[in-house]
Symmetry: C2
Subunit: 597 residues, 2 copies
């Protein structure tokens, strides 16, 4: 390691060099901390430095001018053949080898714990946070990288590298945004192929948090629901709570790929303690495989071991082993039987008291142990939702210049018969009763839509009142329930398809399900099953059942916009799509192409 | 302390007595650990022991037989003049005086931290859990009581005592159920009057957790929404996460009584770290009072102190001071300025790294510090929702034997004009169109309700088809939206009133607001404002506005069932209550009196 400093001859007793070009040996990696990043980069180019990590800020983190400065810097680095990490990066730490190119204050720790978890973080501070919290628990780390603004090397490329890194077993991501969804998606698939699970914590669950994350990173705004869909699609486990990110790692071996709610068997030495986890599991839709085995004051290690064995052999997807006060001073009572259990199924443990030694015992044994009941439940729910990366339907379709109803008809979605009619006669061949719309109007509230026009006389009167030369005439349809089906080329993750219950109430409740597009009919059925409001057409309270299959076909059809040549569509929406006992029919449609005003 | 043991002469080197009656000195408090609780109690009676705490189980925790055994025991204790704590109690600990009548394993800790927080817990283990976790953080305790089955001394009475206890500043409750809501409610009001905040964690957020809590306590099942309403009514702060229960205590001084969302000012040395809290705050409806003051790498203590001062003087209800890596080894950078801040407004802190020393510094200074971003946000949201105990409307009304529409009319709720009509003529004076119902039928799905009957001929035909001697005729009404208004005498907390959006979708989404009954019209307006679905009548997307005031009047009217002499009504529901531009009207009603089959 060679200190480079233009004004000091010595740094911490080491000889300092004025410029990196003065160093006589070949420098592999430079860490730039000064304001004149551009000059330092030039020097790196001259000195043949392969990678420059940049701590300095004032780039994409600093508004429009900063963005331009960053683009210039990245361009120049390419010319010079220097790869960049940052700017705004806290650097790189490789724990097992003791390499630290970083300003992270966590390096003041007397020892850093080595392990096989590697972290890529968009927040430099959080890298230190995770490392220090893990160290206190006996959780060790391999490589830690703070990516900063990702002007060059990004999360996706690092995941590719970690997927191929023998020292890494699990990849942990702390994300504020996703800058290259395609590359990260491909890297996640490579990691899966290499047997390396990825777990992510991403800010932006609420618009407040999203804005906070963006304000100090200069990132794009995508939809959080789209990101959820994206992570699931790539086989990335998304956790809801910060500590879960670390605590879940031992649990991640391979995706359970469940198509039903996960089931947990519970063994505990404290009824109240187990209930704190079970209460949260219920909130997340997890089920119990049988009654809780409550061994409060019921004996020692042999009793606990026997109950644990019984739980492991039960019809469950994972075992929750909760331990009360004995976890603090008497690990031999219950913690040791857990640590020694033959792990056929996933085991997670929650220790109710302050139990640092027991947490370390579990960590050493590779068993997921949780400090809080909430993180424990979060981890189980995230684990059960974990699926193998999805193979998306492929192909290419040509949608030409079709708009609105024409486009959806072309995709294969049934559309209510319609025609354009011209003033003053407004002649058309749609059977009455019909609806009447001023072109471009979509909501009855606007006054440009008239429903239930009885006959031609009525039509002429009402069309004239609309004061339009041309009106859209559409057959009145009736059905059981309104749905909404949408497509969006999300700026962050790309094409997604959405289905939800229609109408004002459903809009207020945001009762929708989003997946990466395209989806198959079977996947669309899964989406529909997750929309609460569709209970009304799934046989709720003896109400008639709607044609869910036709709805799924419509969702799959709309999702195929993702296969359109050049992906010209920005957003498309059928609202409402009327679900009938037999079939579905689109009553209104909106399409926005990229480049539309 | 005198060991009592029928078979040993000595216990841990102390002389043991065969029976408590053998002890020559006056015994104040006995702790019974043996199976023959009944005999031990007789001895206590003879020996003039004032209080017997019972660790032994096999009472209400053990099914119907156990419940009977407990009733006998409690009865006998009353006769003997012995107060009981338990059965199934882990006992009592008074930390400042060093008194411990308990089997809790937490007592193996080298020292117990003294402080002014007292805990009453329905789970004995969780008492130790809270004590050991608090100790590791520098949070101290005064009195800790494990109430077990509450055969005699219960949570309510203990809160009364703690409200009057000079050593107690904050009262913490770990609850699995509420066994005497009236007494706890009165005690909570006494604690408020004494300036002592109460904070509760209660299991049963999900039905899974509720069942888990009940299975090992033999408690009654109430509705969690009703409990939420109850806690709010009594001025008890309810937290969502276990650690929040301890961590929030320094924050609780007096209720902010906000009638709008709480506003937080944020100062941080880590953008990502602050965003982890802010993201959750957004999910809980909390707002920011201004941009986040992000001081990442921006200097030392003076800069932080100045920003903190600015935040404290801003238009906010609380300040969130987040600290990154410096919290681990350099508390002088940001933690000390926080600890030294002149506290005019509530301050909460979140330290991102493992930072035990900083957490202890904050605890010593009486500043609420959080280990996780989620608990920090939970605490702020719970704090902002905290209100002074409510003074409920009082009085008594007489509802006689009225049922259904008659009862609601009598309460002052407008009801759609109706009449009973008799076969074969079905004569009535309600103007057409009308709805037709077979008595006792409430849903169109059942086939016993016919809507839109046009004229008397139509009526006779359709009434005959219903195959009933008497039918209910009701004027057809139209309006903007359906609401549901309900009343329930909850078995745990007593009378509650509920309002929600009507219809199948709203039912599926459980979009309802519950309060303790009765409520005033103004309180009903607050309830309505919290129901998402009513957005549709609050001027959403230019839709016409509904008569929210009339709806509030109807809610207040229904809530007055809580004032009915003898509280004869178990449940009552108007579904739907039609909300019109001008007024509301009940279209269907159900009333169940106590004792009805």
């Amino acid at each position: 390691m060679f200190p480079v400093n233009p004004v000091r001859k010595e740094v911490l007793g080491e000889k300092a060099y004025a410029r990196v070009t003065d160093v006589l040996q070949k420098v592999e990696h430079a860490y730039i901390l000064i304001e004149d990043v551009e000059q330092a980069l030039e020097d790196c180019g001259k000195a043949g430095v392969k990678v420059a990590s940049i701590f300095s800020g004032g780039f994409a983190d600093a508004g429009a001018e900063g963005m331009k400065r960053q683009a210039r810097l990245a361009g120049r680095a390419r010319e010079l053949g220097v790869r960049l990490l940052g700017p705004n990066s806290m650097g790189v730490i490789d724990v097992p080898s003791g390499l630290a190119v970083s300003v992270n204050a966590v390096l003041e720790m007397p020892t850093l714990p080595a392990g096989s978890t590697s972290i890529v973080s968009q927040s430099g501070t959080m890298l230190g946070t995770l490392l220090s919290r893990g160290a206190a628990r006996g959780l060790g780390f391999a490589k830690l990288v703070s990516v900063g603004n990702e002007a060059d090397v990004g999360v996706g490329e690092l995941v590719e590298l970690l997927a191929a890194d023998a020292a890494t077993r699990v990849i942990v991501l702390f994300l504020e945004t996703v800058r290259d969804a395609a590359r990260l998606g491909a890297a996640a698939r490579a990691a899966h192929a290499a047997g390396k699970p990825i777990v992510a914590y991403k800010l932006g669950r609420s618009s407040l948090g999203e804005a906070a994350a963006r304000s100090h990173t200069g990132a794009l705004a995508g939809s959080d629901a789209a990101l959820d869909a994206y992570f699931s699609d790539c086989g990335i486990v998304r956790v809801d709570m910060l500590e879960t990110l670390l605590e879940i790692t031992p649990l991640l071996r391979k995706p359970p790929n469940l198509k039903r709610p996960g089931k947990v068997a519970v063994v505990t030495t404290t009824g109240g303690g187990a209930a704190t986890v079970v209460d949260r599991l219920g909130m997340r839709g997890v089920e119990l495989s049988g009654p809780i085995m409550d061994l409060t004051m019921a004996g020692g290690a042999a009793t606990y071991a026997a109950a644990l064995e019984k739980a492991l052999q039960s019809d469950c997807d994972a075992v929750l082993a909760a331990v009360g006060s004995s976890a603090q001073f008497h690990p031999e009572v219950a913690v040791e039987p857990i640590v020694r259990a033959k792990v056929g199924k996933p085991i997670v443990t929650f220790f109710t008291p302050q139990a640092d030694r027991s947490l370390a015992l579990a960590a050493a044994a590779g068993i997921a142990a949780f400090r809080t009941p909430e993180a424990c439940a979060d981890a189980l729910a995230a684990f059960f939702a974990w699926r193998t990366p999805r193979v998306r339907p492929t192909g290419e379709i040509d949608i030409g210049t079709a708009q609105g109803f024409e486009l959806f008809s072309q995709l294969g979605v049934p559309v209510a018969p319609w025609a354009m009619a011209q003033a003053p006669e407004f002649r058309h061949s749609i059977p009455y009763p019909v609806a009447l719309k001023r072109p471009g109007e979509h909501k009855t509230e606007g006054g440009g839509v008239v429903l239930g026009v009885k006959d031609h006389h009525d039509l002429q009167k009402k069309a004239a009142a609309l004061n339009a030369e041309r009106v859209l005439i559409q057959k009145m349809e009736s059905g059981l329930m309104e749905a909404i089906v949408g497509y969006r080329d999300d700026p962050v993750v790309g094409p997604v398809v959405m289905v939800g219950a229609g109408g004002v109430l459903a809009e207020v409740y945001r009762d929708t399900e989003v997946r990466m597009a395209p989806v198959s009919e079977e996947e669309a059925q899964e989406m529909i099953a997750r929309v609460k409001g569709f209970a009304a057409i799934r046989g709720y309270r003896n109400l008639p059942r709607g044609d869910v299959r036709a709805l799924a076909q419509a969702v799959a059809a709309v999702s195929r916009l993702a296969l359109a040549k050049g992906r010209p569509v920005l957003e498309a929406e059928i609202n409402p799509l009327l679900v009938k006992v037999d079939g579905v029919v689109a009553l209104d449609a909106l399409v926005a192409r990229k480049g539309d005003a």
